[in-house]
């Protein structure tokens, strides 16, 4: 079942087009940075970007930080929103269900396929970032400097980068779960994706609002930037752990809601 969903997703030209577009922005930023040599001022711009001029090995992280706030969640929302509603709109949902692909199984397979999409996307962004960083900037073969100013060996840097890739992937699960849930509510993939994006925008907006600070710890976007904490020395696990737990809660609740809705829903598309 999951194999079928993966084949569907990755044999679709649109999937790769999305990933390509996602990579365009960091590459553009890298080229501009290289041409102008103007690093963002401290406190501004995405994390790690100012550090890239001195160490190109950090560009994969800067690339992730560039796509994290907007591009990546949009792509995830679109793919997740398409998961069930897309099949419904194309009419293939009814054939899947009479095949029979159990409704619960189908939901889980769809979520896993979206996770796979996120993982592949993040890996591609990181890989392209690595290549771009190594060609356009001076990469230091000795490793890098942590956010806290300690030296990291190349192995440590690679290990933490992998952790960051994993964390960013998990961070997108909330958006994916929202997209999937909305996808079971409507037969329009566009509506589902827009619903997930609306949640995202609301969350980002509330996060900047002081009045919303009591609910800030529960906003799905609250701990997204915590991947930076993986590059502090010692690693600051607090927000990372909370981010993982929060995404887990969102996935659990939304998957349960999607299940309650989808398994008792009349499929009339």
């Amino acid at each position: 079942m999951i194999g079928v969903e993966l084949r569907k997703l990755f044999r679709r030209p649109r999937t790769w087009a999305t990933i390509a577009v996602l990579n365009a922005l960091p590459v553009l930023v890298a080229v501009l940075l290289q041409l102008t040599d103007l690093a963002p001022r401290p406190g501004e711009g995405p994390p790690f970007l100012s550090a890239v001029l001195t160490n190109g090995a950090l560009f994969p992280l800067a690339a992730l930080a560039i796509v994290l706030p907007l591009f990546l969640p949009i792509a995830v929302a679109v793919v997740a929103g398409d998961a069930v509603a897309g099949e419904a709109q194309a009419g293939t949902l009814r054939y899947l269900l009479v095949r029979p692909a159990g409704r619960t199984r189908l939901l889980v397979a769809k979520l896993l396929a979206v996770v796979a999409f996120v993982l592949v996307t993040v890996l591609v962004v990181a890989a392209v970032g690595y290549v771009v960083g190594a060609t356009l900037f001076e990469a230091q073969p000795t490793g890098g400097t942590s956010v806290s100013g300690t030296s990291l060996s190349q192995e440590e840097l690679a290990g933490r980068s992998l952790l960051a890739i994993g964390y960013v992937t998990v961070s997108m699960l909330g958006v994916a779960a929202f997209g999937l849930f909305f996808s079971t509510l409507t037969d329009s993939p566009l509506a589902a994706a827009l619903g997930a994006l609306a949640v995202l925008v609301t969350s980002s907006l509330l996060f900047t609002l002081d009045a919303a600070s009591p609910i800030a710890p529960y906003l799905p976007t609250r701990y997204w930037l915590a991947f930076v904490d993986l590059f502090r020395d010692p690693v600051l696990w607090r927000d990372v752990v909370r981010g993982l737990a929060l995404q887990g809660v969102y996935v659990g609740v939304l998957l349960a809601a999607a299940w309650a809705n989808f398994t008792t829903k009349d499929v009339t598309s």
Binding site: P42, G43, G45, P46, P47, F48, S50, A51, T54, N55, A65, Q140, T142, T145, V147, S148, G149, T150, S151, P217, L225, V228, D229, R232, P234, L236, R238, V249, G252, V253, A256, A257, W259, A260, N261, T263, T264, K265, D266, T268
Partner: protein, 370 residues
């Protein structure tokens, strides 16, 4: 309208229950009662004063609502008192610790060693070597609950710490016992300070500063996580990374002395607004610090070009009071006043004193400098 099949209400009820449990969980954890221990206030205070050498590491947040309209030169200090600052700390002792101010995209770490400080700024990639100064502007380490609580309690008079304790609460997962400090000086703008102390180590875990008559703290600093093990030395120590720009901080003492030389030759009074003057080595006579503990007043000359900008910033504030003495404004318990005598240098007065006390001090100061 999609009709629901059998079992839909049951499934939605299960989902609703799950959500309810998850939503209720944080408030349930928060509602866990704290154990109050029978420790007398005096004993607790003594434990706090003796806690400077207790090693610990932790994660703290300080939140201030003290938005003062100060000039751009002091944005770091202004942010410190008006924003949420997240701080990681590793404490081996007063002369060996590390305090990192954590921001979303970077961090600024201050590594203290017996010889001075290294300040690492990630985003500008600079490592700055400085010396420990006798008088300096407040920095994030000063706002750590442990440091702030200890300093306020150590400078408090015996009568200012209430004899009865103020109960207990949970801070950073520990039972913290409350101590209350009520400033005795008439000039004080701070109503009270609540210090919540870990009775075992004597470390203040949370400090809340309330303005007179306020029921929300003007400054709240507390630990979110605390580990009472002594952190390893290599975590605290700092070696500048190879790609960093090395800087040397301007010597604060020299800077102040320099300012003193350029400052007008005035003799500040030994007391202002009923607060006695404090003496620091190397501080020029033109700069004065008055009071103690939580009631402090600083007076410093302002060069003419700065005074104009400061006046504009102050008068832009809707709460500003301007009269023949100068312009003064308060943000919570923190007061700021620009004194511009007709025939003397401009002075800035700032501190945790009431506006009346500022006016009183300004009157006295105008008499002296004129």
């Amino acid at each position: 309208m999609a009709a629901r099949g059998h079992g839909a209400p049951a499934r939605w009820a299960a989902v609703g229950l799950l959500v309810a449990v998850l939503v209720a969980l944080p408030s349930l954890v928060a509602a866990l009662p704290a154990d109050d221990a029978d420790v007398p206030a005096a004993e607790l205070r003594a434990a706090v004063l003796a806690s400077a050498d207790v090693g610990f590491s932790g994660y703290a947040v300080s939140a201030g609502g003290l938005a003062l309209p100060v000039s751009e030169r002091l944005t770091d200090v202004a942010d410190l008192f008006s924003d949420r600052t997240l701080v990681r700390v590793w404490w081996r002792g007063p002369a060996e610790h590390r305090v990192d101010v954590v921001t979303a995209a970077g961090e600024t770490g201050v590594h203290r060693d017996p010889g001075g400080t290294w300040t690492w700024d990630f985003e500008s990639r600079t490592a700055t070597r400085g010396t420990a100064a006798s008088l300096a502007l407040p920095t994030p380490p000063d706002l750590l609950p442990a440091a702030l609580g200890r300093r306020l309690l150590s400078e408090a008079a015996d009568g200012e710490v209430t004899r009865t304790r103020t109960g207990a609460r949970r801070v950073a997962g520990r039972d913290a016992l409350g101590l209350r400090l009520v400033p005795a000086e008439p000039a004080a703008s701070v109503g009270r300070v609540d210090v919540w102390v870990d009775p075992a180590s004597g470390l203040p875990l949370q400090v809340e500063v309330f303005a007179e008559g306020a029921d929300r703290p003007a400054l709240d600093t507390r630990f979110l996580d605390l580990d009472l093990a002594v952190p390893p030395a290599e975590v605290v120590a700092f070696a500048p990374p190879p790609d960093a720009t090395l800087l040397t901080a301007p010597d604060t003492d020299e800077l102040i002395a320099d300012a003193g030389e350029r400052a007008p030759d005035v003799e500040l009074p030994g007391g202002l607004a009923g607060l006695p003057r404090r003496t620091f080595g190397g501080v020029p006579d033109a700069v004065g610090v008055y009071g103690r503990g939580v009631t402090l007043l600083a007076a410093a000359p302002v060069p003419g070009r700065l005074a104009g900008g400061l006046r504009e910033a102050l008068t832009a504030s809707p709460d500003a009071v301007t009269d023949e003495l100068g312009t003064r404004v308060a943000a919570g318990p923190l007061g700021l006043m620009l004194v511009e005598p007709a025939d003397g240098p401009a002075y800035v007065l700032t501190g945790t004193v009431t506006l009346d006390a500022l006016a009183d001090a300004a009157r006295r100061l105008s008499g002296v400098v004129a």
